[in-house]
Amino acid sequence: MMLNMVQALNQALEQEMERDPRVVVLGEDVGVDGGVFRVTEGLYGKFGGERVIDTPLAESGIIGAAIGMTALGLRPVAEIQFMGFIYPAFNQILSHAARLRNRTRGRFPAPLTIRAPYGAGLKALEHHSESTEALFCQIPGLTVVVPSSPAEAKGLLLAAIRADDPVLFLEPSRLYRAEKEDVPEILTELPLRKARIIRDGHDLTVVAWGAMIPAALKAAESAAGSGVSAEILDLRTLSPFDEEAVLASVGRTGRALIVHEAPRQCGLGAELAAVIAEKSLLKLEAPILRVSGPDITIPLPKAENLYYVGAERIARGIRRLMEF
């Protein structure tokens, strides 16, 4: 069935709730309203208000409550309405959800999923466009996942809910309704912590995730016109990431372009570049290059285009890398 990302996520939630009575959904406006982006639409009618829970407006309370639910064996899927509002819950995520398995030596592992839309490109209000995934990638015990297409979103969300570890599932809001894709009605989960080559190439490797993937594909197509063969690796799980896949691809192509929408300093690109430099330096034919947002506050819509990383900037990165 042809679905956009919102519909694919909705289908994943519905099917998983049908399959597993331990799965509950909670968050602001997720019930009667079906979520501000309609990701949870129809779930309230189907599963009732005890299982699709409209909560008071309190992010730390939502995540804290979700953690407590796991104590009694539930698998809560908590929605944070926008990533820009997740920070009041940072303590619950970092100091509790992510370390409960360790501090109880496996007795209370806190298998919750936190969904949040994120990223720029929707010309939204302040605090609705940031990409702060790297803040969460330094938290031991937390798995950070970003899907790049409708089918990926469905398969990865199923995996996130079924995972026995807490997962932060970041949904690129720019891709919510960007395109439709054939999403199998019956879809088994996709693997966490496994990157995926979505375009084969032999001249360079583009490592990217989320909304950067369609942009990177476009850039790769235009580079192909000038005879450059770009491989694109969709990281999918940002933490803990698939180091083996990154090194294998860069080892083959000899060039690495890392693309993210987030600011450059201490972005995940920095860790990826460090790993490539530490382990594959002698296989490189050019310096590792990053295309990213600058280290500034993301501008409001009138100037958002000056910030945003799109296909043209990625194409320029590809050219610079090949011209070295």
């Binding site: 509950v24 005890e50 299982r51 829970i53 909560t55 008071p56 309190a58 730390s60 309370g61 995540i63 804290g64 409550a65 979700a66 953690i67 407590g68 639910m69 104590a71 009694l72 064996g73 539930l74 809560p76 009041p88 303590n91 619950q92 100091s95 509790h96 409960l100 398995r101 360790n102 501090r103 109880t104 030596r105 496996g106 007795r107 209370f108 592992p109 031991p140 015990g141 798995t143 995972a163 026995d164 570890d165 912590r193 803990p240 990431f241 180091e243 083996e244």
Partner: protein, 318 residues
């Protein structure tokens, strides 16, 4: 209560001898902690905070494990099978919304049980305290929240924590019955918390108990309370010692004598010494142990870092 006092004093001694890490003493809270825990049943859940020794002992948590944690090993937080005890929260008030979530889960699963959460008066200034109570009121969860109002949060007095006449009245604002009790009277605490637990099990919603007590010791062994509080105030509360008060009560009922006191004290000392020996005999953390519980399965990157640590240790001859 005698065991709590004995174990607490032992922990302070061990800390001074370098055998136990920074420790948050419980002296003065014995009636609150024991009274809060005494009415719990096996199916109930508990979300405690970091000053809860009496609660731990009352529900049957092994004292050796408690010491083991404060000696510096996470393994000491493991609840024995069958004991529905979440690990104590060091970050202040985070346990409150978690306890509420457990209550929401109990409602969803249609289980008849109570979920107890404890905190100090400092916690009542945190956002999580209010978010957790608000959720509990809205979802009518089977929670009992007990605040050990011990007048001090490190150096911050109750008067600087809130302008409310009571903390119990904060619960009323969330649609939760809240009462204040004498926290140095173990039977008063037991009665108040017990009523809340019963309400919870009958699915009549949450309740809140403010137990008025006093932190007789320093905040932790790293603190010096003489810097900020009056000796006279401490002396006043010394005369209200919960153990003394209960002893007087039992004597009045004719069920206490010195021989009984001796038996109880000697048993407590023996139990504490045995627990210390057991805790100190436990092995220190191994490299595998500190990596193994980060994720369900060890990701390759962590496996690589573990190998790196082991190689370093081997080369360093350790």
């Amino acid at each position: 209560m005698v065991l709590t006092r004995t174990a607490d004093q032992k922990a302070l001694k061990l800390q001074r001898q370098g055998r136990l890490g920074t420790y948050a003493p419980s002296q003065g809270h014995e009636a609150c902690q024991v009274g809060a825990a005494f009415g719990l049943r096996a199916e109930d859940w508990i979300f405690p905070y970091f000053r809860d020794l009496g609660l731990y002992l009352t529900i049957g948590f092994p004292l050796a494990s408690y010491f083991h944690y404060w000696m510096g090993n996470e393994a000491g937080l493991i609840s024995p099978p069958g004991l529905n005890l979440y690990p104590l929260s060091i970050t202040v008030a985070a346990q409150i919304p978690q306890a509420t979530g457990a209550g929401m889960a109990a409602n969803y699963l249609k289980k008849s049980l109570a979920v107890l959460a404890t905190c100090g008066d400092g916690a009542t200034s945190e956002g999580d305290f209010h978010e957790g109570l608000n959720f509990a009121g809205v979802f009518r969860t089977p929670n009992v929240f007990v605040c050990y109002d011990n007048q001090w949060a490190i150096s911050t007095p109750r008067s600087r924590q809130t302008a409310s006449a009571t903390i119990a009245q904060k619960a009323l604002a969330y649609g939760i019955p809240g009462i204040q009790v004498d926290g140095n009277d173990v039977l008063a605490v037991l009665a108040a918390v017990g009523e809340g637990l019963e309400r919870a099990r009958k699915r009549k919603g949450p309740s809140f108990v403010e137990a008025m007590t006093y932190r007789m010791g320093h905040h932790t062994t790293s603190d010096d309370a003489t810097r900020y509080r009056d000796e006279a105030e401490v002396k006043t509360w010394e005369s209200r010692d919960p153990l003394t008060r209960f002893r007087v009560y039992l004597k009045g009922k004719g069920v206490w004598d010195e021989a009984f006191e001796r038996v109880v004290t000697e048993k407590a000392s023996a139990d504490v010494e045995a627990a210390v020996a057991e805790a100190e005999a436990k092995p220190a953390g191994a490299p595998e142990e500190i990596f193994a519980w980060t994720f369900k399965e060890l990701p390759p990157r962590l496996a690589g870092q573990l190998a790196e640590l082991k190689e370093f240790l081997r080369e360093a001859g350790r």
